[in-house]
Point group: C2
Chain length 805, copies 2
Amino acid sequence: MLTQHNHAPLAAAPYRQLPLIPARSDGGSYDVIHDASSPAAGDCCAQQSSARHNWEMNYQEAAIYLQEGENNDKFFTHPKNAKALAAYLFAHNHLFYLMELSTALLLLLLSLCEAPAVPMLRLGIFVHATLELFALMVVVFELSMKMRWLGFHTFIRHKRTMVKTCVLFVQFIEAIVVLVRQTSHVRITRALRCIFLVDCRYCGAVRRNLRQIFQSLPPFIDILLLLLFFMVIFAILGFYLFSPNHSDPYFSTLENSLVNLFVLLTTSNFPDVMMPSYARNPWSCVFFIVYLSIELYFIMNLLLAVVFDTFNDIEKRKFKSLLLHKRTAIQHAYRLLITKQRPSGISFKHFEGLLRFYKPRMCTRERYLTFKALNQSNTPLLSLKDFYNFYEVVGLKWKAKRNREHWFDDLPRTAFLIFKGINILVNSRVFQYTMYTVVAVNGIWILVETFMLQGGNFFSRNVPWSYIVFLTIYGVELLLKTTGLGPVEYLSSGWNLFDFSVTLFAFLGLMALAFNMEPFYFIVVLRPLQLLRLFKLKKRYRNVLDTMFELFPRMASLGLTLLIFYYCFAIVGMEFFAGVVYPNCCNTSTVADSYRWVNHTIGNKTVVEEGYYYLNNFDNILNSFVTLFELTVVNDWYIIMEGVTSQTTHWSRLYFMIFYIVTMVVMTIIVAFILEAFVFRMNYTRKNQDSEEDNGIVLEKEISKEEVVGIIELYKRSSAAPETSQLQKIVLQMDKYGQMSTTFLGRRSRTKSDLSMKMYEEEIQEWYEEHSRKEESQAPLQESASASTSSLKPLSLRQRSQTVI
Amino acid sequence: MLTQHNHAPLAAAPYRQLPLIPARSDGGSYDVIHDASSPAAGDCCAQQSSARHNWEMNYQEAAIYLQEGENNDKFFTHPKNAKALAAYLFAHNHLFYLMELSTALLLLLLSLCEAPAVPMLRLGIFVHATLELFALMVVVFELSMKMRWLGFHTFIRHKRTMVKTCVLFVQFIEAIVVLVRQTSHVRITRALRCIFLVDCRYCGAVRRNLRQIFQSLPPFIDILLLLLFFMVIFAILGFYLFSPNHSDPYFSTLENSLVNLFVLLTTSNFPDVMMPSYARNPWSCVFFIVYLSIELYFIMNLLLAVVFDTFNDIEKRKFKSLLLHKRTAIQHAYRLLITKQRPSGISFKHFEGLLRFYKPRMCTRERYLTFKALNQSNTPLLSLKDFYNFYEVVGLKWKAKRNREHWFDDLPRTAFLIFKGINILVNSRVFQYTMYTVVAVNGIWILVETFMLQGGNFFSRNVPWSYIVFLTIYGVELLLKTTGLGPVEYLSSGWNLFDFSVTLFAFLGLMALAFNMEPFYFIVVLRPLQLLRLFKLKKRYRNVLDTMFELFPRMASLGLTLLIFYYCFAIVGMEFFAGVVYPNCCNTSTVADSYRWVNHTIGNKTVVEEGYYYLNNFDNILNSFVTLFELTVVNDWYIIMEGVTSQTTHWSRLYFMIFYIVTMVVMTIIVAFILEAFVFRMNYTRKNQDSEEDNGIVLEKEISKEEVVGIIELYKRSSAAPETSQLQKIVLQMDKYGQMSTTFLGRRSRTKSDLSMKMYEEEIQEWYEEHSRKEESQAPLQESASASTSSLKPLSLRQRSQTVI
């Protein structure tokens, strides 16, 4: 990337700045506030204000670099001039992102109201086509902003954006056609609408998942071919062996043979497919046993193994490239923040300026604490080495360390003793295990109680006394814990929060029961959730649940990815199969029973014989989703397939088979992901067995009174005059308690990246070295070692962007 | 283990020997043959023969140690005196092993003939009870031999043997009861018969698998409880939510609710269980989606992750303990083979003596080559460090390296040129790809041909000409390859062997077709297997297939383990459910349709409506096995369960549920095993990317003529006079070609252990050090470092056995 650069000695180097603004004549004069000895301190006002403007630009660009590093945006999309910057800023804030997201969602949700619509949400063609056109216009606007920011050349080189543009174009034409003709045609292209969602800023995780799925595809396809190959061989064998048996419908033709062996791959038709031949000759079971052993138990697992292996490899490479990308971003930002006088580091003034753009919501106190946490050398300047930890530190939430151990320490003696007693009680093992016992008894009680019920409407009766008793106990426990620990500490634990909400729900359920509020009866049903508390008892469960919560965001994004696939298939399914299945539709097929709906009248009783499968249709998008979920679960999916096939052509099977293979890919990835995450986590625990309790990342920093006063001074002297009230409050508090310093605790939850950092500790150093070597080799003219801080090369954006493209 | 020992300086140490034979007066005199300068060379004959006898004992004990190391037998079962040794030798040879195995198999196979017998194999009670008693007597004999060898104290401390004895006792009593009463009672204990099989020497792999399964159980059970816990919670919820719906039979009582959610866990009843409630309220699908997402897609995968992790850990620990066990065995053996004069190593004479007992079938040439391969220092003695490689080297098959490149090098010029041409042709890429094309065309041909057929009896027609054409091409290819490469080289490749056998089968099929031999028609059906050759084309497939072959023994043993579980369940199933299901048996249950067998007469046509599920019964052991396989595949297993339940009590469900959980454990282990093996293999390939071609372990050793002559001399001088003809042949051959030396190649296939050795290279050194440290700390009186060769302590068996017990 850094092939060309200005390699004049650093002392004489011009300040790195956006090329669009006039170069500062003497940039060194702008950190005067911190550096009173600077000879340039007494510059004239006009120059100073222009220079401040320049610095603001630098702060902003540095913040943009850091954001790009965080979001894994490639640097070649970095804004290159003032117009681009304005567009960039316009397109990079939560309002814009929300607009993007809501447009995409609107487009997706339109499928609820379009042609095979959900009955309650049906809209006229004119209405939904207009809505669609409106949404597409918004997308056009978004794309034009992006074009402004990227420039035409980068725009047409950015693959995802180009695909989006093409899809947009097609959609536009189709929407207009629909409006003009006032009737919907077969619009499979609607399936492409999910691209708008995938491209949203908020759906970065989905994009990553999709990329990972596509990267895992080549080995997957190889093994899939092996699978299909054996399937074909066995289909031929099966045809030869079983087609002479005329009572065997499964192997009567080669096509049947193939389809049934494909279904057998999913075990969905298992004993049935074997039965006719088994009834004739018991040894024919060998064919099926061999087939299943090879295909299902061996090759399918092989598939998982191959995907798992690829996945592991990709995860590591992804982590590596992200890490190096962040590092480069930090280097870019650093170069923008150093001054001529002090090329060895960033002063607080500039760091604060950066944070004003990077995290506008952060208060002054937190900014200073972040600076201090980064600054490990205790010099007034932040070296590049310190700055490398930027991403790890900037996410910390800072809080003053409490001097008081308990919330009631300040109360009068009697009250203190009472609360202290409660506190000791609440923290005691006896109390905890008593509560576990109560929960267990409650669990058995619920089980027995439910077992005694014989069905029917339970909620018209009175409130059972056991409910009141247990709820009272939980209420007392909640009260004791809240008073003993203090509400803040009580609610800071996830488990307590869970207890609290379950108890609250139980109470609401009691109300619902007492006042006979039918719609809330479902709350009563949540009672057994209380039992989940029992899982706190064992370490493995705590581990599992912790990991579960850590994985949750990733799982959610994988679920969303699956939903996107569902959406595509649902649209295609609706276009082809809407209204195809209905009660008694498939009487000619082999699965007729499942679609039957008959009203017998035997004697004076009406007996309804229902096959129910006609409910699994593609009549609207919600039904399609449920049907697709049933196909995902795989069991009996061939009944749905055969039903639809009997009403359409046998090519419909292709749709179902492709869907099966696609979900197989996604599901295998999900399994691989869960496997990888847990094995990783367990290896991590094994590696760090000493650090038993895991409370996330915690950093402790002490600030002395002088420091705070110094910063207040600094802010007062600077004409920007940000809010110093919070700092002054700290000083006041210190005065009140007569302390000379206050300790702050920075805290954030541990992320996968933190774990990876620790797991790959040794390798990371190698990667860094390799990375800097690569940079060096790409810059052969450079004499000094680029790994060291001082060798950072000032480099104009324009030069770099030339070398990139 | 080595807590007490004689720590006199080594030079004065008595030779290590079996305490049961008179101590040699001067053991040093027995390696005279190699060490002519020894002053004790001229000892008298009587002494020499006694000493030789002593040496023989030492060789034998060393061989026993090495065998124990190889088989992972614990050293505390080492024979302790002459009687024990005799019993040990009696019980450790293939004849005895075969007896063990056949007795166990006989006992197992008895189930074919006992009460619910396979119709064709039914035997009278008197006959099979007598057979059983006979087999049990044989087991008693085996056990008494084991007792003799182990001694009473070790015997009752050896858990597996004690369990076997108890089972034997119970079986004995039951067999006698059956004989006396002349009628079979409920004999669930027959399920324990598999213990006799598991205890067989040949079933070591099964034992290891079982151990691994049991070791993986604790974490498995933890997660299983989590699974069941959620199941109970959802069962209660489901009961509350859906039991008011009277058309929903699945949640009418809590028991139904539990059973159906258990079945839902296997997805076996999936869309059906949802349908009644879904028909009433579409939103009820949320309950099922949430349940399946949590249970099936999350916790089930968690189960796999936990088992996989435990499995990985166990594999590594197992490898470590095996490795250290072997090392200790080698140390023990080494101590028995060194002499007073030369304590720093083993001479060839003694090594040869050892091999005579360890591998009696090995020829003299191979023994010398093994010695030479081990001996890396090129001194006449084998140091302990050299000896540590014993197990890696002793398995090599030695062959003289061919001087001729091709088999036809010695032929006359014209013939040579012809064959050379064929050779070049056969090895050319064009030829290979032509053959691939032919195979592919053949494949498409078969597919199209089969597609055109419309079922029926294909084998009464004439032989199709395409069959003959393709077979001719394959025949020509086979001929060309055999002549071009030479038959030996041709058949040494697994792929060629495969080609050869498939072509042979195809030829036999042709014969069968031509002469209308009905029973062989199945051979024709194997034709498509030829297509497997196409998979040679891609590297990943070669990798996969190689790994498959490497894994095969392990997979087979896992399959056998599964069969043993099947056997237990089959016996229990037969005892309880034999004869329970039959056509039209279950008309009162919800699965009546599947068991129906009706003979309609519509018009003048007889229509048979068959549910076939009555075929899935426990009427004899073969049927039980098929039924259990169907239960393993899981799909529609609830039909079998409900059928049996409707005819017995609802407690029968317990049998099916337990079986499901057991197969889940075994299947999870199998998946974990395949995963582990493949990921390991892929990591290995990634680590050793340079060594592309993997031909197993190959060692090259050169022997000069003098050496061979020397050995022949040595043998001639020794009165044992073993066969030297082979060596003389080598000398003759060298003379013929005028060579001064011949190179031999030792070859064996790569095992998992070899791969592990390479993968854990670094860790292995640590393990060794740790191991020797532990030995040292267990021997605190010892001054010299035990890791070095010279510090090996002579130690009488009796002393050691005392310290062990």
